[in-house]
């Protein structure tokens, strides 16, 4: 999946003033790049990822997905794009507490209408790939943070998306576990040829990235 933005802007009204969380950002991400978006807390990284991931609408500017203007998509088309073409990994994992690891990974496939048998088979294989084949029936509460993030990565891969969007995936993890997750995402990029876009301030991720975009007060500052 190729993603391109043109003058992408997202503003929020705080009291009487208007703050630009993302301010006229132009960027281009090709397949299968491993992209890092860096910046301090509040710099606009998450807002930019939400816009790219079609979870938010820009105040102005455009997002093109495979050269098609995503702003023209209906809510339902945006939802389908997220479901079938994108996978999301969050800083706080965002697993469903009442579902076990297997069910958490099966869920996107169930939403996509995949057959029950296939859901179970693929979820098991994905969890095995992230090293959790012995924790299939554990609920999030029974897993360590690193394990929860592995389940989240497996869930993001469930519908075989073209792009993985990860918002500070190592933010809650110790350095050893963080390294495992970084390696996992890097392997997905290299072996499975998936585009991976990560908002982070983890130096290890920056070191592995094909391109690094730095964002400061909503403006794109540096591009390597």
């Amino acid at each position: 999946m190729k993603v391109r933005t043109e003058g992408l802007t997202r503003t929020f009204r705080v009291g009487s003033s208007e703050i630009a969380a993302v301010d006229r950002v132009d960027l281009e991400i090709n397949e299968p790049d491993f992209i890092a978006i860096v910046g301090r807390s509040g710099s606009g990284k998450s807002t930019l990822l939400n816009l790219i991931g079609l979870n938010d609408r820009p105040t102005s500017g455009k997002i093109f997905i495979d050269d098609a203007d995503a702003s023209q998509l209906s809510s339902s088309q945006r939802r389908n794009t997220r479901l079938f073409r994108m996978g999301f990994v969050f800083q706080t994992f965002n697993l469903f507490p009442i579902l076990n690891a297997l069910e958490n990974v099966e869920l996107p496939m169930a939403l996509a209408g995949k057959p029950r048998g296939l859901q179970s088979e693929r979820a098991t294989s994905l969890l095995k790939a992230v090293g959790l084949d012995k924790r299939l029936h554990h609920r999030p509460k029974q897993l360590s943070m690193g394990e929860m993030q592995r389940v989240a990565v497996a869930r993001a891969m469930a519908n075989n998306p073209e792009v993985i969007i990860a918002d500070e995936p190592t933010g809650e993890l110790d350095s050893g576990t963080a390294f495992e997750i970084i390696t996992l995402l890097h392997d997905i990029n290299r072996k499975d040829r998936k585009t991976v876009i990560i908002a982070t301030h983890d130096e290890k991720i920056v070191a592995l990235a094909d391109a690094v975009y730095a964002i400061h007060d909503g403006k794109m500052k540096i591009q390597n």
């Binding site: 998450s46 807002t47 938010d56 479901l83 994108m86 999301f88 939403l111 918002d167």
Partner: protein, 378 residues
Amino acid sequence: MRTALCVVGVVLATTFIVAAGATTMRYTTVIKEISVLFNGQVMVVSSGTIVIQAVPIGGGMLPQNLTDSKVRSIVGVEKTVPILFLTPIGIGGALQAVPVNFSIGIPVDSWSFIIGPTPLKGDGGHFPSNASSSEVVAGASLADEHGWTVGTKIVVNGYQLEVVGILDTKLALLNRCVLMSLELAQKVYNYPESVNVITAKPSQGYSEKGLADMIEGNVTYVNALTEDERNDMIQPVLSQMETWNLGLEAAIFLLSLILVMTVTTMSVSERRRDFATLDAIGAPLSYVLKIVIVEASLIGVLSGALGLVSGSLGALILASVFTNIPLTQFFPSIFEIVPPLYMVEMFLSVVLVCCLGGAVPAVNAARTRIAEVLRAEY
């Protein structure tokens, strides 16, 4: 814990609605079905007597022979039946909120004319055939309550009477009455040569209304009531009761709806992140709506089922309290007091109310966006 308290709240609401609703419905049904008793006949009572459908309340007695011959002599009267209709019959003697025991004295040749083709239970029973005998026929409910069977001797006002048949009828009034010959009733209750009702059947070609007018014109001390007039007297009261009941049901359902809506809203707001994540991973709106509405409807299913059980029990207890009839006697007739159709109606109403209570929180859940949740968290 919060959901459990919500279920308890809706169970209590359902209990109250079912108990009060079934009791009111049963009461109005019983009152309405009494009109079957003197169907198509003019009911002649003394002036000042209040008539509820076919039951005379208060008022004076009529001199039997004088009044009967005066009414019978009016052109357009095909047949008259003098009746002594008394309540209560004095068994138990406890204060009752509604009349539950009746004594009816009818001339022995007029049984079928008044009570229709009502059969007797089991073999060996018969209607009193002799005006001067001490034989009586009892309603099944009254007989069950006192353990009467064919051949049982009972004492009323010092007279020993013999039960010679048990009426097999669904009609509540007949179920709770002792039927005997008019002469015996006059003797037992000390109303010699007196009756309080005379029914007059119009001849062919004569209307009830026309006949009633003629009777009132010719016999100055009586009121002659047609079936419509008798219905009209009680209908406004019954309608008002039904309206009050509906209003009460609506108010309680509204409170239940607010309760379910509040609890579901709290539950949704606690799980904003989950709903936002569902949206982020591409779950259709209908999926999120379904989750919340199914949760709310489960509260309805559980509360509805428990509320129906406790409400039905409540209706039986109310019936027992109002009539002084032992509770156990109502168990076999639970589906007459709380009809199955009413149970289904109430159950579906409770589930519907809970679904409606979940609708607004469900829409809020479906509108939760990950960007908003993350912004609020960071």
